[in-house]
Amino acid sequence: MLQDALLIAGKDLRLELRSRVALNQVLPFALLVLVLFAFALDPDRGVLAQATPGLYWIAVLFSALLALQRSFAIEAADGNRDALRLSGLDPAGIFLGKVLAVSVQLIVLEVLLGIGVAVLYTTHIEGWGLLVVSSVIATASIAAAGTLFGVLAAGLRVRETLLPLLLLPVLAPVLIGSTRAFEAALAGSPSEGWPWVGLMSIFASLYVVAGVLGFGPLLEES
């Protein structure tokens, strides 16, 4: 299963390196969201500073939707989904591989967005440890839930519009948890952020288990 996961992740990341969709489209989109928020809230820098964690994670969530849609669009083209089903790869491995590839892309995006936030919003981070751990857990949560809902929507004609409708409400706990953890890291009070990391860890674990068990049947139906 892990070998299959690495094979799928390698393939998806190689596709991204060759097509540069995340670099040329998703990253500019995310930066644009940050800049627009800065324009909208700039007259009151206090509000901007207060809202930074939430704005950051909303930009990440929107970008994740694009990355997830891309992850399944490449399988929808030219009979690739059938080829995957015939490949003999473990569906759980396919799921984990897609989660890994999306997570890697999101982490790169988060680092670049973080730099954007620091520059645009003049943010100073105090609790780096909390910020890094919470970001990794939140990213895994988004990628796991998104991959599960992505395959659910993949076979439908309205998948592009359906995925955000299905996924965004489900990811509300992750948005809240990651935002609170970011706030705690900014405020230099990490102890207030760790419980949220725990909550997101449970969320991520649930969706990883659900994906490992459910991805196969959903791939059959898509």
């Binding site: 299959d4 094979l7 393939k11 190689r14 596709l15 060759r18 097509s19 490449i74 083209a77 030219d78 009979g79 690739n80 059938d82 080829a83 089903r85 015939l86 490949s87 003999g88 790869l89």
Partner: protein, 232 residues
Amino acid sequence: MVHLRGAVALLGRFPALAGVDLDLEPRRIVLLRGANGAGKTTLLRTLAGLVALAAGEATVLGVDLRTDRRSVRHRVGLLGHATGLYDDLTVGDNVRFWARAAGADADDVERALTRLGLDGRLRSVAVSRLSAGQRRRTSLACLIARRPELWLLDEPHAGLDQQGRDLVDALLREATAAGATVILSSHELDRSMQLADEVITIAGGIVTRDSDVAGVQVVPTDGGAEGHRGDR
């Protein structure tokens, strides 16, 4: 090798296979012919374990498709109308990925690329930049690198030039010589009849004629080629 009794497969509510009876022996090339919409593609996809059986019996390579469709999949190679290739990856990347997914090694990849004439400059060209014929060759390379026991080919000659068509014929003969079984659907009856050991005719989702190729007269099914089988 393949055993179907009263096999029914639905596309939505439409019975694309409406009770197919079929028995095929190993190491043979079987030509599946029929008009557009007769059920050829659905039959191939059912044998590959991609389409669920709604009724009847189906055993492929010893696997009962009623209870376990997944187990047969990695043992068959399906070449359909779609290429199953990733446009942004190179020819070499695609063949390597699908071969590794099936557990094949680097030698299988190299052999497949060489056999299909893709081992030169083409191996590092993105699939999106290939012609239709080159894509077809790449799909075939992916298929033979996997070394399937049952080859299911939907119009394998489509999009290929004369040299490519001859190569496909040679590959199919090599596959059966190596122990595989080949089922191909084709409208190119002249060429396919030369190749086939057995001919199946399907119409309205039912196999209407199932016989050895000797003595089968080629009749047009949907405007396809017309003629008589040559000597083998």
